[in-house]
């Protein structure tokens, strides 16, 4: 099932979407780097002259964690099963002598492998391009920390939206609202409200990270159980 899912990930609009998501940040980084090099434009934010290194920190958390990783998670997580159901090709997989959960697991792992293989190198590239060689030393440690966050983010968002994809009829719209509507609002609200989002735990320390990984595994298992209980009536 894993190979079949892997194959599906690498053709058609899915691969294009992933390539774009990985390539855009690198291009932006290059553009900004050129702008810095040519010295013709300096970006001054509230009076303080921004250096490339700090730029990289904000770029990572803002661009990757808040936008690219959740977007990929929503797109692939929800469409993984929902697409096959809509295209009615899921029937061929249901009539095979294997637990239906294996379909979810196979696809989820294929998603993890592909997205990690696309996004992490892209983040590394952005790091190399943005941070000049001289001051790279001290930053490596935080860079690795960022990579971990991205990896956990990919796993978490993926798991949450796989579960959404299996349970709801129109998961994509709901997913987008959750990521770009609910999460930013919740972050601003006081008290525990922020805890109801994935983003909150991403920013947290190691403990939150591990908690998130466990939660992801739980979500995937729940998704596997759901797909085995539910009946999918593919209307004519």
């Amino acid at each position: 099932m894993f190979e079949l899912a892997l194959g599906e990930m690498l053709w058609g609009r899915r691969a294009v979407f992933m390539a774009v998501a990985a390539a855009v940040p690198v291009l932006l980084a290059l553009g900004l780097r050129l702008a810095f090099a040519s010295g013709s434009a300096t970006i001054v934010v509230n009076g303080q002259h921004l250096s490339p290194e700090t730029m990289f920190g904000t770029a990572i958390s803002l661009l990757y964690l808040r936008f690219i990783v959740p977007a990929l998670g929503v797109y692939y997580g929800t469409s993984m099963i929902a697409d096959e159901i809509e295209d009615k090709t899921i029937t061929y997989l249901f009539v095979r002598p294997m637990r239906r959960g294996a379909i979810v697991l196979g696809k989820y792992l294929a998603y993890l492998v592909c997205v990690l293989a696309a996004v992490l190198p892209s983040a590394a590239l952005v790091f190399v391009v943005m941070v000049p060689l001289a001051s790279m030393g001290p930053l490596v440690e935080t860079f690795v920390r960022h990579l971990e966050q991205i990896a956990v983010g990919i796993a978490a968002y993926g798991a949450v939206f796989v579960l959404a994809g299996v349970t709801f009829k129109r998961p994509l719209v709901g997913g987008l609202i959750f990521v770009f509507g609910w999460e930013p609002i919740a972050a601003a609200l006081p008290g525990y409200v922020a805890r109801l989002t994935v983003a909150h735990y991403l920013q947290g320390g190691i403990a939150d990270g591990i908690g998130l990984v466990l939660a992801s595994i739980g979500a995937v298992l729940l998704a596997m159980r759901t797909i085995e209980q539910r009946e999918y009536v593919l209307e004519q």
Binding site: M1, E3, L4, G7, E8, W11, G12, D87, K88, T89, T91, Y92, L93, F94, V95, R96, P97, M98, R99, R100, E228, E231, Y232, V233, L234, Q236
Partner: protein, 305 residues
């Protein structure tokens, strides 16, 4: 019995898909018939474990199918919808699905080649399914159903979109599978094609089983339509006179060069007719047939709208 259901019902909210069906499917080919919305696809989805019975049970090879994926080793299903991974080639798709049966690389490749050869798609095997014509897509669907050599085959409209030659070849293929010991359930709207495959049918209407078994036996049981026999003879009047002398005949009509007789007791009547024709008493009798002893007539008599 390969497939058996007891008081099987299925409800979608208030809509009743299947209503208290108790039926057994014998070996060989069985034609599943009924007008649109009769519950055929619901029945097939229950038998292939895609839907859970609301009440009652459905068993294949004696065991329930829902939530029991091991059964799919012996079951092949060809769905009606036109749904494919259009970017994969025919061979890749069949091999991938065969792989899901736990076959290793070589055996799934061999199974794929065998299945593709059976449906005569070997030459197009390495082209993308997206570029296949409707007839070829139908055949690749059949191939995925037989790749793992199942003992039970459920085919939903297997011939739709095929050209006449391919239809004939597929009908012969289905009969060969049956002869090779497989049990095949074929659902189709084209009655004369079912007739060409088998005379064992399962007629459904409004979610219930209206009739099951041999078409001709079923026809004989439809008493509000007495058995009608069309006889072409040299001297139809003579034949009619002689037949009227017996009490089996309830009415006689004449057609040019032929006489049409209605009888309520077909066995007695046919025995007498055969001996009459053998004796040549009423002149030569060239042809004998029963215009409404076929699937079309049975279907229209039993499925009154």
């Amino acid at each position: 019995m390969i497939v058996a259901t007891e008081h099987l019902s299925k409800w979608y909210g208030e809509v009743s898909g299947l209503n208290d069906v108790t039926v057994t499917v014998p070996e060989g080919v069985t034609g599943l018939l009924g007008p649109n919305g009769a519950g055929k696809s619901t029945f097939m989805k229950l038998v292939t474990g895609q839907l859970r019975p609301s009440t009652g049970s459905v068993r294949i090879f004696g065991e329930p199918i829902w939530g029991n994926p091991a059964q799919y080793r012996r079951l092949g299903f060809c769905p009606e919808q036109d749904a494919f991974y259009t970017n994969m080639t025919g061979r890749e798709w069949i091999e991938a699905l065969a792989g899901l049966h736990g076959m290793d690389g070589d055996s799934s490749r061999a199974a794929a080649t065998r299945a593709l050869d059976a449906v005569d798609l070997l030459d197009a095997a390495d082209r993308k399914i997206g570029g296949y014509s409707k007839g070829m897509r139908q055949r690749i669907k059949l191939a995925q159903a037989i790749a793992h050599d199942p003992a039970l085959l459920i085919l939903d409209e297997p011939l739709s979109g095929m050209d006449p030659l391919m239809r004939r070849r597929t009908i012969r293929l289905i009969k060969e599978w049956a002869r090779a010991g497989k049990t095949v359930v074929v659902s189709s709207h084209i009655l004369h094609e079912i007739e060409a495959m088998t005379s064992n049918i399962l007629l459904m209407h409004n979610g219930r089983i209206v009739a099951e078994g041999n078409v001709h036996q079923i026809r004989a049981l439809i008493d509000e339509h007495p058995h009608r026999v069309w006889i072409r003879a040299e001297d139809p009047q003579a034949v009619a006179r002689l037949l009227l002398s017996g009490d089996e005949v309830s009415s006689v009509k004449f057609d040019e060069g032929a006489v049409i007789v209605e009888t309520a007791r077909p066995d007695a009547f046919y025995t007498r007719l055969t001996s009459l024709a053998a004796s040549g008493e009423a002149g030569a009798i060239e042809e004998v047939t029963s215009p409404d002893d076929n699937l079309q007539a049975v279907f229209s008599y039993l499925v009154k709208e």
